[in-house]
């Protein structure tokens, strides 16, 4: 695996630990279908969050969350629907979240969790 993929995997682990520590239940990780991949699916009470995780080593080339483009968000929306269908989840409040991490694969520099980034 390339170095950047390793960093991405590490970021997803960090993010799901963070969500669990904040009372979420992680339902799924790295779920794939023909439209793409969802990093984390997590549940808090009755709402389900589909979380996109972005990890960067430094903030020198922009904030990690800046890398989430409108195209990417549109795809996440489709993926959320696909996941619900595949898992027969119907009556949940659904939202798209984003987590941006700056870290080197060992220590976390910063972590930001933005909820409901599509309104």
């Amino acid at each position: 695996m390339a170095l950047k993929h390793e960093l991405g995997r590490w970021g997803e682990v960090v993010a799901s630990d963070f969500l669990v520590a904040n009372g979420y239940e992680v339902l799924d990780r790295g779920w794939r279908c023909r439209h793409g991949e969802i990093d984390i699916v997590a549940r808090l009470a009755t709402s389900i969050a589909f979380v996109e995780v972005k990890t960067r080593r430094t903030g020198r080339y922009g904030h990690p969350l800046e890398a989430i483009t409108p195209t990417k968000l549109a795809r996440l929306r489709v993926l959320a629907g696909e996941w619900c269908r595949a898992n027969r989840v119907t009556a949940a409040a659904i939202r798209i979240d984003a987590i941006g991490i700056i870290g080197d694969g060992i220590a976390i520099g910063s972590l930001e969790h933005r909820t409901a980034v599509i309104s």
């Binding site: 904030h63 800046e66 968000l73 984003a98 941006g100 933005r114 909820t115 980034v117």
Partner: protein
């Protein structure tokens, strides 16, 4: 929720409105959204602001930033809001003290490196800010001279965004940077022309002085080479200097019409001579997006000279009727309107016919009578009716050229005569000119003996009632020029001749 606020100025025409700029630093993915009817160049502010903030050593908040320009229904143009937007964002993220930013009006376009570029229209914008009650305004250092022409408001020139942040009380190091100066216009060369250059046309000189003294519009008819352009240029020379208010108005218009360079107040009346292919928009103002002043506004408080007047499109000439009457012009758009001043003294010049030779001795006119008639008929009656002085200009003959005994009036002498004539008129009438009724029957009524020729013309049907009133007005101007207290029969006769000199 954190919000930063500040203010800037949106210009429509010469009048400016204070615009509240609020930046909301909300949660969400990084984005910068500008709302409140921005045009394309203002919409691009987000990219300039982002780079300028980063290159000034600050961090653009990595969240959703919404910038609202209020009142949201007023269309806003141009790049002059950049500084205000950047500071509102930094105040929202608490990088800069919010009160200091909120209490100041900001103007200026940001360069990507954070320096401030000068913008057009700073003078009217500063005036508008002051009139709206603002006490402090921050402008690009390159516009400093222009902004400081306005009294009664504290002008803070800044060279860059970092400099502005420091002025607002943040202790950061500001490096010496090159101030971006506006493009300089070369100093106008002192004019070499003088009224004494006009030889052999004493009637014209006295008519010109009367025109300058009374602010009468002028129409010159004569063959090519008779000196019509020369005469028109000298009219502006003999007008008195601008008053302080006029000067601010003239300078504001030139600040708006061109890209910023104004650094001193205009003191002399402008002279604008558009080419006869000019469109109605070029003359009265307009244009897509930003509404620009036209020639009639650039010539406000001065002279608008239309050479070869019949060659102008008739729609263009007729578009001048309304501004000539009201002294200002309003340009309407679907969602806004712009006011510009249009206090011009109009000077028209025309050849007697397309070939130019009609009515000249020793030459033959090649035009058919119909063509000749059509040529001058392009000047519509309503336009000519607003023109008081109709002057036939003839070619100078050799004998006149070398006649050293003929008196010559210099510009300085003429300007003095104009000034004293205007002073007499002001003494008599105060600030407001009397209406025609007052001139006809009030205490300014002329003696019956003085207006005998005029009454005869009215009886003959050679003169309309409006024409009658205009002639009386010209007679008063002529009397002022001669230094007499009331117009005599001679003044009225001359006025009648000047009004109807050209059978057009």
């Amino acid at each position: 929720m954190t919000i930063g606020r500040t203010r800037s100025v949106a210009l429509s025409g010469l009048s400016g409105h204070l615009v509240d700029i609020e930046a909301d630093i909300a949660s969400g993915l990084p984005a910068l959204v500008i709302i409140g009817l921005p045009d394309a160049s203002l919409g691009e502010a987000k990219d300039r602001v982002r780079s300028a903030i980063a290159n000034s050593g600050f961090v653009m908040p990595p969240t959703r930033v919404t910038v609202n320009l209020s009142p949201a229904s007023l269309p806003k143009q141009g790049s002059g809001f950049d500084l205000a937007i950047a500071l509102a964002i930094l105040a929202g993220s608490r990088d800069v003290p919010t009160e200091s930013v909120a209490s100041c009006v900001h103007l200026g376009e940001l360069a990507l490196d954070g320096r401030l570029r000068p913008v057009a229209g700073v003078l009217p914008a500063v005036v508008a800010a002051r009139d709206a009650g603002a006490t402090r305004i921050m402008v690009p250092a390159g516009n400093r001279a222009e902004a400081e022409l306005v009294p009664g408001i504290e002008v803070i020139p800044v060279a860059s965004l970092a400099h502005a942040i420091r002025v607002h009380g943040v202790d950061i190091a500001v490096h010496d940077i090159d101030v971006i100066e506006p493009p300089r216009e070369p100093e106008p060369e002192p004019t070499q022309r003088d009224l004494a250059d006009i030889v052999g046309q004493p009637d014209i000189i006295s008519a010109l002085i009367a025109a300058a003294a009374g602010g009468h519009h002028m129409f010159m008819l004569g063959p090519p080479g008779a000196g019509k352009t020369m005469i028109a240029e000298r009219l502006v020379d003999i007008l008195p200097d601008l008053t302080p208010e006029e000067s601010l108005e003239v300078t504001s218009i030139s600040s708006l019409a061109r890209v910023a360079h104004t650094s001193r107040l205009a003191t002399r009346p402008p002279f604008v001579a558009p080419h006869h292919t000019a469109t109605a928009v070029a003359i009265v103002g307009g244009g897509s997006g930003i509404i620009r002043p036209g020639a009639v506004s650039r010539a406000s408080r001065g002279v608008l000279f239309l050479d070869e007047a019949p060659e102008f499109a008739s729609t263009v000439l007729d578009a001048l009727r309304q501004p000539l009457e009201s002294g200002d012009i309003v340009i309407h758009r679907a969602n806004t309107s712009a006011h510009f001043p249009a206090h011009v003294q109009l000077v028209l010049a025309a050849n007697p016919c397309p070939c130019g030779n009609a009515g000249i001795d020793d030459t033959t006119c090649l035009c058919t009578p119909d063509r000749r008639r059509r040529y001058l008929a392009r000047l519509s009656g309503p336009i000519l009716d607003r023109i008081d002085l109709h002057l036939p200009v003839s070619r100078v003959r050799r004998a006149q050229l070398f006649d050293s005994t003929a008196p010559r009036v210099t510009t300085a002498e003429a300007r003095e005569r104009v000034a004293s004539a205007r002073a007499r008129a002001a003494d008599r009438w105060g600030f407001t000119r009397p209406d025609p009724l007052e001139l006809r029957s009030g205490r300014f009524r002329l003696k019956p003996t003085a207006v005998r020729s005029l009454d005869a013309a009215l009886d003959r049907g050679a003169l309309t009632m409006r024409g009658y009133d205009r002639v009386v007005r010209i007679a008063w101007t002529l009397a002022d020029c001669d230094g007499s207290d009331t117009p005599t029969a001679d003044h009225v006769g001359r006025a009648l001749y000047l009004r109807q000199g050209v059978p057009a």
